[in-house]
């Protein structure tokens, strides 16, 4: 704003030059011009420091809000969406919103202030030439807006093609043996060439638009300068304005260049920003379907008694039930095993108890209370799970084992690792328990990951333990050791385990056989053998397999 006073003094200096002026006066003008810039610069400094900084703080808050919201959404939501899409919301869309709130807002303010004042001053000098000289300026804004939008979209198209191109290279390199073995190098090169030609053509199309952008912009702002020069010059000739005013006028006109340019850009930023903001709000508006009830019941002491009463369950968006009228009760402290082939509903049973998916009200009970009546955190505190996906995080081995109980001491962590038969291997890691897992550390084998997840569940000390096929990559001896440990040191935990191996389930207190979502048999190993049904047939088949192999 202060900068706008500069031409005023420039104008006076020029006029004084012709009226006769002392060197001292000139020096004074120079100092004033410099001081004006100094004050203006200070203001610009604070403007950036506040507006842009505020936009960074808002981005920070919005990102936190987004993250915390995502953590409340049910697993089913993440199955419908790709991680990449959600990541893009949290990065690209947030960036677009931040650009709108920061630079967008700043340049908007700047543009409005500078434009209003500069045009005001210009009007004071000469309303008529102001009108003409300012005429091409909206064209500048329009140019920026028009090309900016097209360039942005063209650029997105190029990025998409670039991804396709990278994917092609990646595929070719990953499949290098197949490419060689099938001698398809030629057609691979042809495919790659086609993608490249399209990439080049898309670039050419963008170049056609963007190549015009800057020259046209220069032309319009040059046109304004020319009009100022020509019309202003004629006003001077006509004696309507002084030479000083004329110079001031030209400087004001030059000052308008950047703001009108910025205006077009700001419009783009707002268009992109509002679209992105709408997408973020849409995400924030997704209601967490699985929440604590408004008035959770105060459950009794945690014993670990599980009951399913006529549970029929369909996954969201499907019509076929995954579970059909399943009823069973697992008394506190006992072990139940679920068997059946892939897709029979074993994992579904395990996911309903901690409400990963929501059962119908009044069907699934823990310690005599409907799981939907529990406070969600209290419910999950009573259940320790080792899931099929055995997810580990980029933390130390110790932190991963203590992921559910971050305050656990080293002794407890080591004990849990020992029970999961992982302790000896951990000691062989480069930094033992402090070894980082993941990209910045070591990669664990499938069996090690499974046992780390078991250790994580064991450390929790919850009365209920859910083990979902989490011993499949562990050799039989180790598996046997882990299961024996669970029986001996289980401290009366209720255990619900899913397995494909007879050796894993044969010692369970009750074996539940599922088929197509229905519970078809239940009983102890011996009872089910005696029953001569499906379980018995499975066991017989295994024996048969061994006999034939042995023959």
């Amino acid at each position: 704003m202060f900068a706008l006073a500069q031409p005023q003094y420039l104008s006076r200096a020029v006029d004084d030059l012709y009226k006769g002026v002392t060197a001292a006066k000139l020096g004074q003008y120079a100092v004033i011009l410099f001081l004006i810039s100094l004050v203006g610069g200070t203001f610009k400094y604070f403007m950036r420091q506040t507006i842009i900084a505020i936009s960074r703080h808002m981005e920070y808050d919005l990102r936190n809000e987004l993250f915390e919201h995502l953590l409340t959404l049910p697993v089913s939501y993440f199955q419908r969406r790709t991680t990449g899409d959600l990541m893009s919301r949290a990065t690209n869309d947030l960036a677009a919103v931040r650009m709108m709130l920061g630079p967008g807002f700043m340049y908007l303010v700047n543009t409005v202030v500078v434009a209003v004042l500069a045009i005001g001053f210009m009007l004071a000098i000469s309303p008529r030439i102001t009108l003409y000289a300012v005429l091409p300026l909206p064209l500048v804004s329009l140019t920026v807006w028009f090309f900016g939008d097209r360039i942005h979209r063209g650029f997105e198209g190029i990025q998409a093609q670039f991804s396709a191109l990278s994917a092609r290279v990646q595929e070719n390199l990953a499949g290098v043996r197949v490419v060689r073995a099938f001698a398809i190098e030629e057609s691979e090169i042809e495919l790659f060439r086609a993608l490249n030609v399209e990439y080049r053509d898309r670039n050419h199309r963008l170049i056609r638009a963007s190549g015009l952008f800057h020259p046209v912009l220069t032309f319009f702002s040059g046109l304004a300068a020319l009009l100022g020069l020509y019309l202003g010059g004629r006003e001077v000739l006509a004696g309507r304005i002084t030479l000083g005013q004329f110079v001031a006028f030209i400087v004001y006109l030059a000052m308008l260049n950047w703001p009108v340019y910025a205006l077009g850009w700001v419009i783009n930023l707002f268009q992109r920003g509002t679209a992105s903001y709408a997408r973020i709000v849409q995400l924030l508006d997704v209601a967490p379907e699985i929440t604590s009830p408004a008035h959770p019941v105060t459950p009794g002491p945690a014993r670990g008694e599980i009951e399913f009463r006529h549970v029929t369950f369909r996954y969201p968006g499907t019509t076929e039930p995954a579970l059909r009228d399943v009823s069973f009760r697992v008394p506190a402290g006992s072990t139940a095993a679920l068997v059946g082939h892939t897709g029979c509903g074993k994992s579904t049973v395990l996911s309903l108890l901690p409400r990963v998916f929501d059962p119908e009200p009044g069907t699934v009970f823990l310690d005599g209370v409907d799981v939907r009546e529990f406070d969600l955190h209290e419910l999950r505190r009573r259940i320790a799970s080792a899931t099929q996906d055995h997810v580990l995080f980029s933390e130390t081995v110790a932190a991963n084992i203590a992921y559910g109980a971050p305050d656990a001491g080293a002794a407890a962590i080591e004990q849990a690792a020992a029970r999961a038969r992982l302790d000896e291997e951990i000691l062989r890691f480069p930094k033992g328990y402090e070894t980082m897992v993941g990209e910045r550390g070591i990669t664990l084998s499938g069996g090690q990951r499974q046992r780390a997840c078991i250790a994580r569940a064991l450390l929790l000390g919850s009365p209920v333990l859910l083990l979902d096929d989490c011993l499949s990559s562990v050799d039989t001896d180790t598996e046997e050791g882990i299961l024996r440990g669970l029986r001996e040191h289980g401290h009366g935990r209720t255990t619900l385990l899913v397995s494909h191996r007879v050796s894993t389930v044969r010692d369970a207190d009750v074996i539940l056989v599922l088929e197509d979502g229905a519970l078809v048999e239940r009983g102890r190993h011996d009872e089910l053998i005696a029953l001569g049904g499906r379980y018995a047939r499975l066991v017989r088949e295994q024996q048969l397999e061994e006999e034939i192999e042995a023959s």
């Binding site: 030059l17 000139l26 020096g27 003008y29 120079a30 410099f34 610069g41 842009i52 900084a53 960074r56 990102r63 936190n64 993250f67 915390e68 995502l70 697993v75 993440f78 991680t83 290279v169 990646q170 070719n172 390199l173 990953a174 043996r177 197949v178 060689r180 099938f182 001698a183 190098e185 042809e190 790659f192 490249n196 030609v197 080049r200 190549g211 046209v216 032309f219 046109l223 020509y230 010059g233 001077v236 000739l237 110079v247 082939h341 990963v356 999950r380 899931t387 997810v391 980029s394 559910g404 993941g438 069996g447 050799d475 191996r501 007879v502 499975l538 088949e541 295994q542 061994e546 034939i548």
Partner: protein, 656 residues
């Protein structure tokens, strides 16, 4: 290969020379662009001079006509400027794009000729970066860098000349702020660069954390970790924000500082120039023109320093790109291109200058370097004292000698790490044996044209690799366009028993393969792999039996497809199923890289040697586990009833 993080490199004359080689095909365009840029600079310099003319000779001398002419000239200059600017960007960007296309194709083509061992040593991600990002960096140099730099230098020189012409003393005054500008720019640039690096690292960390949390959301919720992880996220988010605030601070300081320096220059000119106007008769027009020239002087200077960065990055990128291009190609491919010498639509040659190997004319298969040219393959395979070590030191196979007669089916059996896959890799000439030789139809592999050899061998790998594209395209992989008729593909799919599931796909044979075929079951992928080999109809078949458990129905389809595939072909099978071993004419037992036993199943059992022990071992462990291999998920519990006998006999004697 050099590391990716040192993205800056000093100027290297040798590299630059080689880079310039890529410009050669476009020298006419480049020369034209340089002329355009020079003209553009002149036109750009005319503006302030015309302003001076308008003020001094038009306005001050009250010459309306002169003002009029100057205005028209000014307008013409503006118009010409638009045209020249557009021309320049068009020509250079197009040249840049064409060079990128040339370079990418040269790289990709070179990659197709590199030995498989190269890919054992170099991670895919890094090689990809060469073809994608590094080439893009070079594009920057070609389009935005070199020619504009010429324009910038010319503009700077032009401005200085114009200013000297106007008033040399005033020039000295204006330039007195130059050191200030250099200092401010240098100080800030170093800091801003460091700050940006910091921001990138923190953003990467933030996104990695976010990604991990989204992937592990189930675990996090089950463990009640929401609060704590939100805290962890806030921490990383704050780190990212603060790094950005640091950059904001630098920018907030930098831009006004530069303006202030500019203001100093203007103030000096007003003060000093004003005195001159008073005493030495310098004109107002000169003063105004001078002010405008000052502004035009600093922009190209800033641009040039930006271009120096581009140059440094381009040097680093080109070094990595050339290093890849200089990697020796696979044995047997020296001096020949694997492809038809197609040329781009714009007629530009796509062969890298000075990259001699690709320049060689393309020879028809089988005619290069005395490569054997044979009629239909009889399919006799001889391993003769073959020894090989991947690292050149530790032998994986040694002294392997056995012969597969035309039409014979040989099963290769042995524990994990016994060298079975290595033998197949050597037969396909992915690697060169250090000892002995392999002969196909009596001709040593080194005398075969690698492409011709591979065309005669059908391969079914353990895990099929599906390419993106249609099912039909995947089945007809490697067929000449003329041969890949829909009929042939459908017949191959039918013979492999893959037709049933293919026809159920939406789009049938035109269905697109997504995520490398992750949407198909393991069994379906195997069937596709069989269909692929059948469509190829090669005389020799190499099969690495899959070990993955599949459902009963698919299992029986696979058995039937397998029989179809092996019928009347010379075949070498790494066998995992007992039924496959029983069907083989001969079993070769490999142990520690050496052939230990050969014979039929019955003969080998009677021998009571390694084979008998392997067999016994696999029978004892119910799951068929052996040699430290992870147990096959006891298939029985996975299956429904009524398992056919062939499947129960599913003896996975070894799986790797």
């Amino acid at each position: 290969m050099s590391h990716d993080d040192d993205s800056f490199r000093g100027y290297d004359h040798r590299l630059m020379g080689r880079l310039m080689g890529y410009l050669t095909p476009y020298r006419a365009q480049v020369a034209f662009a340089v002329l355009v840029v020079l003209a553009d600079s002149v036109v750009g310099l005319a503006g302030p001079y015309l302003t001076k003319e308008a003020i001094d000779n038009g306005i001050r001398h009250h010459d309306g006509v002169h003002l009029h002419y100057v205005a028209i000239l000014y307008l013409a200059m503006l118009g010409i400027g638009v045209g020249l600017g557009y021309l320049h960007s068009q020509v250079m960007q197009r040249v840049g794009q064409s060079i990128m296309l040339d370079l990418r194709l040269a790289l990709f083509r070179h990659l197709q000729r590199l030995p498989v061992s190269f890919f054992d040593k170099n991670p895919i991600g890094r090689v990809m970066t060469r073809v994608t990002n590094d080439v893009d960096t070079l594009n920057e140099l070609f389009t935005a860098g070199m020619v504009s730099a010429v324009g910038d230098v010319f503009t700077v020189i032009g401005v200085v000349i114009a200013m000297v012409h106007l008033n040399a003393e005033l020039l000295a005054v204006a330039f007195s702020v130059l050191p200030l500008i250099v200092i401010v720019t240098l100080v800030f640039r170093a800091r801003v660069r460091r700050s940006f690096r910091d921001i990138r690292t923190r953003l990467a960390r933030l996104n990695a954390y976010l990604n991990e949390n989204l992937t592990g959301i189930n675990t996090i919720q089950l463990l009640n970790r929401e609060e704590r992880n939100a805290e962890g996220f806030r921490e990383r988010n704050a780190g990212h924000r603060d790094a950005n605030l640091q950059a904001v601070f630098y920018h907030a300081l930098f831009f006004p500082s530069m303006e202030l320096v500019g203001a100093v220059a203007v103030s000096l000119i007003v003060w000093y120039g004003g005195r001159q106007v008073m005493w030495t008769g310098i004109t107002l027009g000169t003063l105004v023109a001078f002010l405008q020239y000052t502004q035009r002087f600093f922009r190209p200077i800033a641009d040039l320093s930006e271009k120096y960065n581009t140059l440094q990055q381009a040097m680093a990128s080109s070094e990595r790109v050339f290093e890849l291009l200089d990697t020796p190609v696979a044995a047997g491919l020296e001096g020949r291109a694997p492809v038809i010498a197609a040329s781009g639509a714009n007629g530009a040659p796509h062969i890298a200058p000075r990259a001699a190997p690709t320049d060689a004319p393309v020879a028809p298969p089988g005619e290069t370097q005395g490569a054997a040219r044979l009629p239909a393959s009889k399919g006799r395979i001889e391993f003769d004292g073959v020894g090989f070590a991947y690292d050149g030191e530790h032998r994986v196979v040694e002294g392997v000698t056995f012969t597969i007669e035309p039409g014979e089916r040989v099963a290769l059996v042995g524990p994990t790490g016994s060298g079975k896959s290595t033998l197949i890799n050597l037969l396909l000439r992915f690697y060169e044996p250090q000892q002995g030789e392999i002969r196909v139809d009596g001709v040593p592999l080194r005398d075969w044209d690698p492409y011709e050899l591979r065309r005669r061998i059908g391969v079914v790998p353990q895990d099929v690799f599906l390419f993106s594209g249609s099912i039909a395209g995947n089945v007809g992989l490697g067929l000449e366009p003329g041969d890949a008729s829909r009929e042939r593909i459908v017949r191959a799919a039918r013979d492999a028993h893959a037709d049933e599931f293919i026809e159920r796909l939406p789009g049938g044979y035109d269905a697109q393969v997504r995520e490398r075929g992750a949407t198909f079951s393991a069994g379906q992928r195997q069937l596709l792999s069989f269909a692929r080999a059948l469509a190829r109809d090669a005389g020799i078949l190499v099969l690495d039996e899959a070990t993955s458990a599949v459902d009963t129905r698919t299992e029986s389809l696979i058995q039937r497809g397998l029989n179809e595939l092996l019928r009347s072909r010379t075949s070498l099978v790494i066998a995992h199923r007992l039924s496959t071993i029983l069907d083989a004419d001969r079993v070769v037992v490999l142990h520690h890289g050496r052939v230990r036993e050969t014979g039929t199943h019955a003969e080998l059992l009677a021998l009571r040697g390694i084979y008998a022990r392997l067999y016994e071992l696999s029978c004892l462990s119910g799951s068929g586990r052996m040699t430290g291999r992870k147990p096959v998920r006891s298939a029985m519990l996975e299956r429904d009833g009524g398992v056919p006998e062939t499947q129960v006999v599913d003896t996975r004697m070894h799986m790797d």
